[in-house]
């Protein structure tokens, strides 16, 4: 086993290209747990700590480019908490202060757990994932990036270098149900983004399917049944129907954390509550 500690993105991409089976290590908050539980035997490790390019944040004309290895803390209440309210709320719900000081969105994407807290936000924002290799850069929609339970579209010589998200005019919110008031893995979560300029509301659900679920049916129904160009209160019937449709799009399972029935119920409630927060 070799541990590489490249000092630049170019060097990192080269090392990765030569050792495609190597494990990339960002905050290590998933990887170290996997090693401890022996879910994975480390072969070679490439540490991303000293790759400055992955820490870079940029404001673009239509949005932001977030370096993949920026820790949660910066989005929660640090320098970049302004870029997305929902991302900041989602970041706050991740683990404990220690985890948020080191864990990264790149790692959340790399692991691609259905319970990953930033993933519903990236889905609802229609984020673009920037993947780099020695051959260049490709941009992939978040919807094409997430493939299934802990499966994503990254190929072995690629590094997630950045996440591109749009600037949104309108409400955005994230809500997560766990059995404890903090530091808990999601048993159901939802992100709602109201894009007033596009008269559209996007809703994505976490922990209720093999991967994040975008509620296209509920979204479409809402566009047809409400004026989404402004934020004005909706009728109870509209809100309830939206929640019902969202719940019906969930594909939850029963496990030791919760039951499928509860999860379905919970995302329906979250969808309604987020919609009410958006439209008032």
């Amino acid at each position: 086993m070799t541990i590489f500690s490249p000092r630049s993105l170019t060097e990192a991409l080269q090392v990765l290209n030569e050792h495609p089976a190597a494990r990339l290590l960002a905050g290590g908050t998933d990887t170290m747990v996997e090693i401890n539980f022996r879910h994975f035997e480390p072969s070679d490790i490439i540490s991303l700590r000293h790759v400055q390019e992955l820490q870079v944040f940029e404001t673009l004309s239509t949005g932001y480019r977030l370096g993949a290895a920026i820790p949660y803390k910066q989005f929660e209440n640090g320098s970049f908490s302004h870029v997305s309210g929902a991302l900041s709320e989602a970041s706050r719900t991740v683990g404990s202060p220690q985890i948020r000081a080191t864990g990264t969105i790149g790692g959340n994407l790399g692991t691609c757990s259905p319970a990953g807290d930033t993933l519903p936000v990236l889905s609802a924002l229609d984020a673009q994932i920037e993947l780099s290799s020695i051959n260049g850069i490709r941009m992939l929609s978040i919807h094409d990036f997430m493939l299934g339970v802990k499966r994503n579209a990254r190929v072995s010589n690629e590094i997630i270098t950045a996440i591109h998200i749009p600037k949104i005019n309108g409400f955005q919110g994230y809500a997560k149900v766990g059995v404890r008031n903090a530091m808990v893995i999601s048993i159901a979560s939802a992100c709602l983004i109201h894009n007033m300029d596009k008269s559209h509301i996007a809703l994505a659900l976490g922990a209720v399917g093999p991967t994040i679920i975008r509620c296209r049916t509920a979204e479409k129904w809402l566009t047809q049944n409400a004026d989404l160009s402004t934020s004005t209160a909706l009728t109870t019937e509209v809100i309830e129907e939206f929640g019902r449709l969202a719940a019906s799009e969930a594909l939850p399972i029963t496990d030791h954390r919760s039951t499928a029935e509860y999860r379905k119920h919970a995302v329906g409630v979250l969808a309604q509550r987020l919609l009410k927060r958006a439209m008032k």
Binding site: R38, V179, N181, I185, S189, V269, R273, K276
Partner: protein, 755 residues
């Protein structure tokens, strides 16, 4: 008269003295048992069963032993002495050889040069099993047609209780069913031990985090086939216990590996292994039927308590007796017909945990009290006050409750504590149920209030010969204390110092090593060490003081009975002599040992009658919760509590026990549960076994009820267990109050509330 100025309050009894280990623990420099290493040390590790129930067909260690760095692999056939151990019945194998009876049962142990080598060795051991259908339900275990999963049978104990008139009836019958999930002690300092073999292999020294050095010593010596004195134990730094360190875990394995290799061996569990390596709180089902008058007075209780003890006996039989003998709660109850069963299953073994059987009983009797209140149109407080036990009342075992029983006072003083402000419109999401998940909004929240009151026995019961020894040496103004009392975080180390300062008028109190070079102190459990070891230290210090007075009296031609200690001076009550203790003890060395015993208790007869307990403590809890009814999420806002403590010896340490116990009881109310499916543990990690965080911890309002108990050596009752007992039913009652749902089970899950 001389005037003296004391710059600092002396840290005597009654003062919030700081613990001698406090700073090191806060700064992270304290050595816990897992922090020790030795020269030339090997690491040990345990191979465990993946199956809850299976026959072992063969075990092949040949590949494991070949691995570079592996020094030895031990199986049941390598145990030189007794093949089993256990606190009450010796029914648990050191290593399984024929059958494994629970998931995680040890089969082999390896010693190697590195933990990773150990892991590889464990992987290389090949065990062939014939997997059997596990026995996992209490009802199946009680069914006489179910084949026995152990030669000792499937029922650990049945206890019948018949008290008063079995045919008595009241005006109203109130019935309820209650269920309690399996809680884990979840101490933070994982199991760890370091064993040093004697060079000739004839003895061993073990440094271990435990609750009871001498009981470990006895069980280890039996398994090693060594005389007890050849097995010397020293307490390693203990990071919490809560009952989970009463049973043997890695003690015998570590010693066996060290003796076999002739090298120091260290064993240390991971968090996951810890879930399999120690016993848990008994899950159980309780049916209760109360016959009450129209007014709400209890006439008779009937019912059953069934506890799942898991695969091995541990303390199941004692836990059961605690449960059934406390089933009436802190209330007058003239008649009772009750049956308790503790059974064996292929679930993880259960044993001691803070509250020891009374937690289960209390959850049921407090649920009943609220039902009675409703049935007779009274408030929860009124119906509890109406039935509150008083000094002289009896348990359903016929045992009178002596000394101090301030039940009504606990309830009244708790009731008088202020309720929290209603949720303000500006409350942030963090203050609402769901916390950082930002799920709730003000208008979704309902507030509820609930009550729980409990009685808990202190110390061991049923005729157990329970004693504690301590030694005090005084010289040159310094007192040195020696005892084998396990300091597990409760703070006996500071209490012992306070006692010596108070009795002897010294300021410097040195604590000798905690080990088996003195008689047993008994277990640090059952809320007993302040009473038992406190009594022993107090007794030893008093004997030393007598000798010191004799010495001073002799020097000054006085009667020693004239002398007293005032602060740090010896004072003649009939004359002018005043001499400081350090002056008086210059050049002398006085050593005294004291054995403290409590009064004898009796066994129960076939009708469950007998004075089986030593003493009792009482507590009341009032819980205020906010519930997001639609999502089933709960935030415990406030716990108010008044507890019968006898005497507050260290207010700060006392508050620590109160607040910690409340957090642990809160865990059982709303989140802590080991989840099992067919004997498989599904959540052996802190990712999924959820403990309360700071955001889950409620405000605590606490009033100590100080009515010194004349039977207690320092007037003080044990305070460790009561805080976690009635807080669970209080919280669940508050959730019932907020939601109107008849919740039967704890912990309450979101789906129990909203679906």
């Amino acid at each position: 008269m001389s005037t003296r100025t004391t710059s600092k309050q002396r840290e005597v009894l009654g003062v919030s003295a700081l613990r001698p280990d406090g700073l090191a623990k806060t700064q992270g420099t304290f050595s816990f048992s897992s922090d020790y290493t030795a020269d030339n040390m090997l690491w040990g590790a345990t191979l465990r069963s993946p199956h809850p129930y299976a026959r072992i067909i063969s075990i092949d260690i040949s590949e494991a032993i070949k691995i570079d760095g592996v020094e030895t692999v031990l199986l049941a056939s390598d145990v030189p002495g007794k093949l089993t151990y256990g606190l009450i019945a010796s029914d648990q194998p050191v290593f399984a050889s024929e059958f494994v009876r629970y998931m995680g049962e040890p089969i082999a142990a390896v010693a190697a040069d590195h933990p990773e080598t150990c892991r590889r060795a464990l992987d290389a051991i090949v065990v062939h099993y014939e997997v059997l259908k596990p026995l996992t339900s209490i009802e199946d275990a009680l069914n006489p047609n179910t084949p026995s999963i152990h030669p000792d049978g499937n029922v650990f104990r049945h206890q019948h209780i018949l008290h008063g008139d079995a045919n008595a009836t009241g005006d109203i019958v109130v019935e309820g069913e209650y269920e309690i999930g399996m809680q884990d002690q979840a101490f933070l300092g994982l199991e760890a031990a370091l064993a040093y073999p004697d060079s000739d292999g004839s003895g061993i020294e073990l440094v271990v985090a435990t609750q009871w050095l001498h009981e470990d010593q006895k069980q280890i010596a039996d398994c090693l086939a060594m005389p007890k004195e050849k097995v010397r134990l020293q307490l390693g730094g203990v990071g919490g216990a809560f009952g989970a360190r009463e049973d043997i875990s890695l003690q015998v394995h570590t010693c066996l590996l060290a003796l076999r290799t002739g090298r120091p061996v260290k064993m240390q569990y991971t968090r996951e292994e810890s879930f399999f390596g120690h016993v848990h709180r008994h899950p159980g089902v309780i049916s209760l039927k109360h016959h009450v008058t129209n007014e709400g007075r209890i006439v008779k209780i009937e019912g059953t308590m069934k506890l799942d003890g898991g695969a091995y006996a541990s303390t199941s039989s004692a836990v059961l007796i605690n449960g059934v003998t406390h089933i009436q709660g802190p209330y007058k109850c003239p008649n009772a017909v009750f049956d308790g069963y503790a059974v064996r299953t292929n679930n993880p073994p259960c044993g001691a945990m803070r509250g020891f059987g009374v937690v289960q009983a209390c959850f049921a009797h407090e649920g009943q009290m609220d039902k009675i209140a409703k049935a007779v149109g009274k408030s929860p407080v009124e119906v509890r006050l109406l039935n509150a036990m008083e000094k002289g009342d009896t348990l359903i075992t016929g045992q009178p409750v002596e000394s101090v029983a301030p039940v009504a006072r606990c309830i009244r003083e708790t009731d008088a504590l202020p309720l929290p402000e209603p949720l303000s419109l500006s409350a942030g999401t963090m203050e609402l149920p769901g916390g950082s998940g930002r799920t709730s909004e003000l208008h979704n929240i309902k507030r509820g209030i609930g009550w729980g009151v409990s009685i808990k026995n202190l110390m061991y019961s049923e005729g157990f010969d329970d004693s504690a020894e301590a030694r005090c040496t005084l010289g040159d103004g310094v007192a040195t204390l020696k005892f084998a009392t396990a300091e597990v975080g409760q703070g006996f180390v500071v209490l012992a110092q306070q006692i010596a300062r108070t009795v002897l008028g010294v300021d410097v109190v040195v604590l000798d090593r905690i080990d088996t070079n003195i008689g047993s102190a008994g277990s640090t459990s059952a809320s007993r060490q302040t009473w038992m070891s406190g009594g022993a230290v107090d007794g030893a210090c008093r004997l030393v003081r007598e000798r010191l007075f004799e010495h001073v009296a002799h020097m000054h031609g006085l009667d020693p009975l004239q002398l007293i200690i005032e602060d740090t001076d010896i004072v003649d009550t009939m004359g002018p002599l005043r001499i400081s203790v350090s002056e008086a003890s210059k050049g002398v060395k006085i050593t005294q040992t004291f054995l403290h015993q409590h009064r004898k208790t009796e066994e129960l007869d076939e009708n469950g009658q007998g004075n089986c307990h030593v003493a009792f403590a009482f507590v009341a809890h009032r819980a205020v919760v906010d519930v997001d009814v639609e999502l089933g999420l709960v935030k415990v806002v406030q716990i108010a509590t008044a507890q019968d403590v006898g005497r507050s010896l260290n207010p700060l340490a006392l508050l620590g026990q109160i607040e910690g116990g409340i957090a642990q009881g809160l865990g059982l109310a709303v989140m802590e549960e080991i989840i099992m499916q067919n004997g498989i543990v599904k959540n052996p990690s802190f990712t999924d076994y959820l403990l309360p965080t700071a955001l889950d911890a409620p405000d605590v309002l606490f009033i100590p009820i100080e009515e010194p108990d004349p039977q207690a050596p320092l007037g003080a009752k044990g305070v460790g267990e009561p805080p976690c007992i009635s807080v669970t039913p209080a919280i669940v009652a508050a959730i019932r109050d907020a939601t109107g749902i008849d919740l039967k089970r704890t912990p309450v899950r979101p789906q129990d509330i909203c679906l």
